[in-house]
Amino acid sequence: MLEIRSFSKSFDSRPVFSDFSLSAEQGSFTVLLGPSGCGKSTLFDLLMGILPRDSGRISLGGREMPDLRGAAAYMSQKDLLLPWKTLRENALLPVAVKRTPAAEDHRRAEDLFSLLGLSGREDYFPGQVSGGMAQRCALARTILFDTPVALLDEPLSALDAITRRTLRGLLLLLQSRFGKTILMVTHDVEEALLLADTILLLSPPPMRILEVLRPEGTKDSREESPSFAGMKRCILKLLQEGSR
């Protein structure tokens, strides 16, 4: 289980978090949904140790940690692929920064490319493929981090509707096939409803949890569910009320 307890952070005595806590079950998909500027991405920066926090504790699997560096993979809305490396080399980057990738790592990358529909593109450079393919490669890299947690910062927001739909299914593989505990930040209500086990509705700064929601039904049937539109309206209403 991932636990964040009593996080506080202020910028120029303006609090972004004040005694903020959350917990995520191992292997769960938690979506942080809130208005732009509420501090969702800042939370990730604090978790990764990119920004120092004023106070608060992190524990993973019962073990206290200063931050999640080395224990969490990170994927953002930008694919962050290195243009001078091939897609295969980009996917294997988390391995390459630690040691020279072995034959086994290459085999894993090939399997992943096949799973993510990138077979035959292994030796392409990022500049030679579409945005959707680049983001799929970023997903392969996220998987190859080999960490128990994945932090996804609006990973689909820069993509077109059709590519988003395809990638939503692939994101779920992180949880179902690779058993990662996922924290995802988004401001897209529909995306949250389709992907999450738990949705945390967040308030504008200082950020707090307005509501914890657990969407009903299996993820692949939610979109067709009669309650889907109602839940979407309800979430939007809660967010609007929380912003006042």
């Binding site: 990170y74 953002s76 930008k78 988390p94 920064v97 945005g131």
Partner: protein, 248 residues
Amino acid sequence: MRQAALPLLFLCTFLAAWEAFCRLFDIPPFLLPAPSRVAHVLATEAPLLLRHGLTTILEILLGILLSLAVGIPLSIAMFFSPALEKALSPLLIASQAIPVFAAAPLLVVWFGYGMGSKIAMAAVIIFFPVTVTLLQGFKSCDPDLKILFSVMGAGCLTTLRHLYWPWALPYFFAGLRVAVSVAAIGAVIGEWVGSLDGLGFLMMQANARLRVDLVFASIVVLSAVSLSLWGIVCFLEKNTVRWAEKKR
């Protein structure tokens, strides 16, 4: 091919006008030799020009190597240590305010009449563009990529190898292109101030004997050397940073 046609056409027209001017007004060769005479000297004095040219080329190449050997580690150190950058930046900029002619006699005193002072002179002139552009390249790195490497737990050297260095390569080559274009200036100025060999020395000797045609021939060789070096750097750049041309 079409790109080369226009400069080539311009060069031919310029040479033809120059040749016509010399012949029409019967200009003495010790004032302004016609291109045909320069070409003749290039052919007849080829062994002499080659001997002195090789010395200058060696000075330029060693000067480039020396400036890279100092400039690359220094820009890396300045990038990773802002305190060092703060301390050295004003000195680096001030060093550019010193005219190269002022430094040349000092370098001859320190390193002697041999090749050492010319290599140092070329290195001094190249050092600044190489160091500054490389540092600029490191600094321009995408902050999101830095975060990615930090999240992966990559250390300084690993990040330098996988991220900063490849990111800064286009900047490095831009600096190197400028550097090789001006390297010849450093070497020749060094030879003018004091030497027994090299194209600068040959030019001084020829000028003293009013062999202006030989001076022009030396300039042609020197220009060919600079252009060749520039071409080599462009070729290396094209083959090293091919990815930069394949932007989405």
